[in-house]
Structures are given as structure tokens and as C-alpha cells.
């Protein structure tokens, strides 16, 4: 990349730098403002009214159950996408024909079709089946549909970049059966893809709203549903404090994802 770097930093460099910084400011200003608002005693008066954790406590009192439900759904969703997605990615990686590509294309559809449509489809089909509609499992189904493509894609990307066939043939020639090969050769070689996919699944599930808004019931409110609720009906400080809690929840996985991406790029 350094060969492409212009050593001459003329007017064009500074103009582009200022432009990029402005874009960054546009993205970061509201984030910073809402974080600040979440710990400000009275946002209307401003920061001089003092800093407080009162609003965060209020959020915890009102919405702790939404946070726990979101975490429960996210980890259940991760379990499902690992069990379903990793074997599926392996099957797709081993078969490179037109059928495999068509299946892959089909599996990506829940990302292309708006969550609103998928949720409506689920409701008209399974809304009347037993207690499913009132159960958190109904939301889980939607989340698994929506996040599975990301898991398959992340794992598939790594599987097609390594020489799966040679690795497996080597292990087979040493007498390893399929299960042994899968767990001690295939999986360890794909761990970066599995990790990246897992982080994506967790982050997306915790933040999913398009599907969840229609699938939730008063007894099954997730964090983003609670967020929408607080934005609509409570003071701006509480909405901000709640958003702050959400940011704190997703930051660790975002940092790990960026670290992974950099790590992958620097690796040969």
C-alpha cells in the first residue's frame, strides 16, 4: 500500500482530509451527544446541570429484563447458527457446482428480504400454532433466519481460501475417519471464520429490530424494542442512557471484529 501513498501532500490531500473528518464528525457527533445526554442531569439545561448515573439506574430498573432477554436470544441464536451454519458451510465449500451456488444464493435471501416481510410471513404462518407466538422462541426463529447467512458466509469464506481437500486427504491417509477429520482438522483451520461469524451473529441479534418489532409481545421485549419504547415515550435522558447501555454491549464484539479483520489482512 505504501507504494500508492503520494509523498506530495498538496491541496487535494488537505481537502480530502477535511472532507473525511467532516464525515467522521457527522457520524460521531450524535453518538457523543447521546452518550453525554445519558449521564447529564438535565439535557435541556445542559452539562452545567451536572453529571449523574441516575438515568442509567432508571434504565436498569425499567428495562433490565429486555437486556437479559436480548442476551439470551443472542447466545441461543449463536448456538443455533453454529450448529446449523458450520456444517452447511462445509457442505457448500466441498461442492462447487451450480446446485451448491444456487443453495448458497437461496440461503442469503433472509438478508435481502426486509425483516418486516419475513416477520409478517412468520406471523401469518405460525402465529396460531400453540403458544409459539407468546414465546421468546418465536423471536429466536426470526433471528436465526436473519443471522444464519452471516455465519455461513464468514465460515465459507475461510473454507474456500484454505486448501480443505489437501488437508483432509492428508488426515484421511493417516487413517482419520470423517468425524475425526471434521473436528480436529477442518474446524481448527476455520476458527477465524467461525469467530468472525459468531461476533457478527451476536451483534446483529442484539440489535435486530425490523423482525423483532412485529414478533415481540408485551412479555417478550428485547433491547431494541425497549429502545423504541423509550424514545417514543420517555425523556431524552433515559433514551440516551439506554442507548449508552446498548453501545457498551456491542463495543467489545466490534473491537474484536476489527482486530480480526486487521489480523487476517496482515497474515499471508
Amino acid at each position: 500500500m505504501t507504494t500508492m501513498t503520494l509523498s506530495r501532500r498538496g491541496l487535494s490531500f488537505w481537502a480530502q482530509l477535511v472532507f473525511t473528518l467532516l464525515v467522521c464528525a457527522l457520524l460521531m457527533a450524535p453518538v457523543a451527544m447521546s452518550m453525554l445526554a445519558g449521564v447529564t442531569a438535565n439535557y435541556f439545561v445542559g452539562i452545567k446541570s451536572g453529571l449523574t448515573l441516575r438515568w442509567v439506574e432508571e434504565v436498569w430498573r425499567l428495562y433490565a429484563d429486555t437486556i437479559f432477554l436480548s442476551l439470551r436470544i443472542a447466545f441461543a441464536c449463536l448456538g443455533c447458527t453454529l450448529l446449523l451454519g458450520v456444517p452447511a458451510a462445509y457442505a457448500l465449500a466441498r461442492r462447487q457446482g451450480a446446485v451448491a451456488r444456487a443453495v448458497e444464493e437461496l440461503l442469503m435471501m433472509p438478508v435481502a428480504v426486509p425483516g418486516l416481510a419475513t416477520a409478517l410471513a412468520l406471523i401469518v404462518t405460525y402465529g396460531g400454532v400453540g403458544d409459539l407466538r407468546r414465546s421468546w422462541l418465536f423471536i429466536l426463529i426470526g433471528h436465526v433466519l436473519f443471522t444464519l447467512p452471516f455465519m455461513v458466509r464468514a465460515v465459507l469464506a475461510v473454507m474456500t481460501s484454505i486448501d480443505l481437500k489437501t488437508l483432509e486427504e492428508g488426515a484421511a491417509s493417516l487413517g482419520a475417519g470423517f468425524a475425526r477429520r471434521f473436528f480436529s482438522v477442518v474446524l481448527p483451520n476455520c476458527r477465524s471464520g467461525i469467530l468472525a461469524g459468531s461476533l457478527m451473529v451476536l451483534t446483529l441479534s442484539v440489535g435486530e429490530f425490523n423482525l423483532t418489532w412485529l414478533l415481540h409481545t408485551p412479555m417478550t421485549k428485547t433491547l431494541p424494542v425497549g429502545l423504541a419504547d423509550s424514545y417514543a415515550s420517555l425523556r431524552i435522558e433515559i433514551g440516551s442512557a439506554y442507548t449508552l447501555v446498548f453501545f457498551i454491549m456491542i463495543v467489545p464484539s466490534l473491537i474484536l471484529l476489527q482486530w480480526l479483520a486487521r489480523h487476517d489482512r496482515s497474515a499471508p
Binding site: P30, A112, L148, Q258
Partner: protein, 281 residues
């Protein structure tokens, strides 16, 4: 195993791969394909019958909302592509102190759900927002546009920039610097190099990133929901038909059509751009 053991290794392998794919296929068929088919049928089962699928073009309200959503999404796509290409190219071609932090900040909103994006717009352009405070100080009157189509436009651009910047950066890193050097040594001006060498090479990435921005703007729901339920975009129309008017057939038909549009936009871009279209949330 006792059955498969008698098969030759090749068909045993095929059988095994099919078995590994089967749970996903079953889930997908039961909870995605079947419900979508059901949605299609229910759409045609209302008072209007199958003609409901044509009302998106004949019903004044539906048509207005379709056109508004298409225009909004096209505008968002154009602005996001322009902004992100400039910023993304700049970040790949220049390294300076603070570079990594700048990239991290530009991609942080990637994981924000639509509702949070809506709240960010309120923070900026809402009644207690930054733009309102600044305009009040400067001109004496408060500029508030969060709860309108303009606010939604700002929100979708906000939502799409991180995604498109990442795609542009990934593609620009793979560009062959020798092409650019050759163009320059032949006397091409910096603008000519950008227009004739860099942009054509980025075309597949821009197409796929643009398609994602377009499709998400068409189908997103959370941001519009946070800003105002009366913004006339297709997802809001569907939501209102479903909840307030309990008009399930119309809601089903419209959402089926909406899904068709977003899926077609992505599929089209993919067929132009090869298989590099990255999925987005």
C-alpha cells in the same frame, strides 16, 4: 453408518454432505420459504383477490408511497456512494497518525439498528438537536427536520456510509498500483487517473455496495418508526395496514412485493458485479 458403509466412498461422501446441509435446508424451508409462499397466498386472499398485487400501481396511496420510497432510496444510494468513495479512497491511499482511529470511528455505526439510527437523527436534527441549537444561535429560528422525509434521508445516509466505506476500502486495497503509475507516467492528470483508472476498477464494488444501500433503504423500518409513523414510505405503509387497519391481505401483498424489489436489486447487482456482493444487516 451401517447403511452407508456398504456404499462406495464417493456416494458415501455425497450422502454425508447432504446430511450436513439437511438441518439448515429444513429450517429454511419450514420457516422462510413456506411462510413466504403463505404470505403470497394470503395477499391474494383478501377482498380484492389477486388484483391486490396490481393495486400497488393503481391505488393512489400505495403508488405514492412506492415512488417516494424508490426516490428516497435512489437519493440515499447516490449520496452515500459519492461520500464514501471519496473518504474510502482517501483512507486507503494515505496513511497518517490517527488513521486507524478514524477508520474505527467511521465504521463504528455499522452495528447500529435502525431505531438507534433514528435516535441519532433526533440528536442531530430533532427538537433538542445540534442543528436546531446552532441555527437558533445563528439565525434566531430553530431548524428541525428530523421527523420528516429529510430526517429519514439523513438517517439512511448515516446508516449506509460505514458499510459502503468498508466495501470501497476493501476493493481499493486490491487495486494494482502499477496501472495508476502507468497512467500517470503517460501524462494523465490526477482527475483523469481517477475517472479512467480507479473508478472503472472499483465499479463492481460500487455496484454491490450501492445495491446494498438501495435495498436497505427500501426495506428498513426501524428508523422511520422512530422518527415518525406518518412518513410515507413503503415499510411504514405496510406496518400501518397491518396494525392500525388490520388489513392483513394488503399488508401481505405489499410486503411480498417489497421483498421482491429488494431481492431483485441485490440479485441484479450481484450478476453485474460477480459474487462479491457482501451481505449487510
Amino acid at each position: 453408518m451401517s447403511v452407508t458403509a456398504r456404499l462406495d466412498p464417493q456416494s458415501r461422501d455425497s450422502l454425508r454432505l447432504a446430511a450436513l446441509l439437511a438441518p439448515t435446508a429444513a429450517l429454511f424451508a419450514a420457516f422462510f420459504l413456506l411462510p413466504l409462499a403463505r404470505l403470497f397466498v394470503i395477499g391474494g386472499g383478501g377482498d380484492e383477490g389477486w388484483a391486490v398485487y396490481a393495486t400497488i400501481l393503481t391505488n393512489r396511496n400505495h403508488l405514492d408511497s412506492l415512488v417516494a420510497t424508490l426516490l428516497l432510496s435512489a437519493g440515499v444510494t447516490a449520496v452515500t456512494l459519492a461520500v464514501s468513495t471519496v473518504a474510502g479512497l482517501f483512507l486507503v491511499r494515505h496513511h497518517f497518525p490517527g488513521h486507524a482511529i478514524l477508520v474505527a470511528m467511521l465504521t463504528f455505526p455499522l452495528a447500529f439498528p435502525g431505531v438507534v439510527i433514528g435516535f441519532m437523527v433526533i440528536m442531530m436534527a430533532g427538537r433538542q438537536g445540534l442543528i436546531g441549537a446552532v441555527t437558533q444561535a445563528l439565525t434566531g429560528s430553530k431548524l428541525v427536520f428530523a421527523y420528516s422525509m429529510t430526517g429519514l434521508f439523513l438517517g439512511y445516509v448515516y446508516f449506509s456510509i460505514p458499510r459502503v466505506i468498508l466495501t470501497v476500502m476493501a476493493a481499493a486495497e486490491k487495486l494494482d498500483p502499477r496501472l495508476e503509475e502507468a497512467a500517470r507516467s503517460l501524462g494523465a492528470s490526477p482527475w483523469r487517473v481517477v475517472a479512467d483508472v480507479i473508478l472503472p476498477a472499483l465499479k463492481p464494488a460500487l455496484l454491490s455496495a450501492g445495491a446494498i444501500a438501495f435495498a436497505t433503504s427500501m426495506g428498513a423500518f426501524g428508523t422511520a418508526f422512530t422518527l415518525a409513523t406518518r412518513i410515507n414510505v413503503l415499510p411504514m405503509t405496510i406496518y400501518t395496514e397491518f396494525t392500525l387497519q388490520a388489513n392483513i391481505a394488503t399488508a401481505a401483498a405489499l410486503s411480498f412485493l417489497l421483498g421482491l424489489i429488494t431481492w431483485a436489486a441485490l440479485a441484479l447487482a450481484r450478476s453485474f458485479a460477480g459474487s462479491s456482493v457482501a451481505a449487510a444487516g
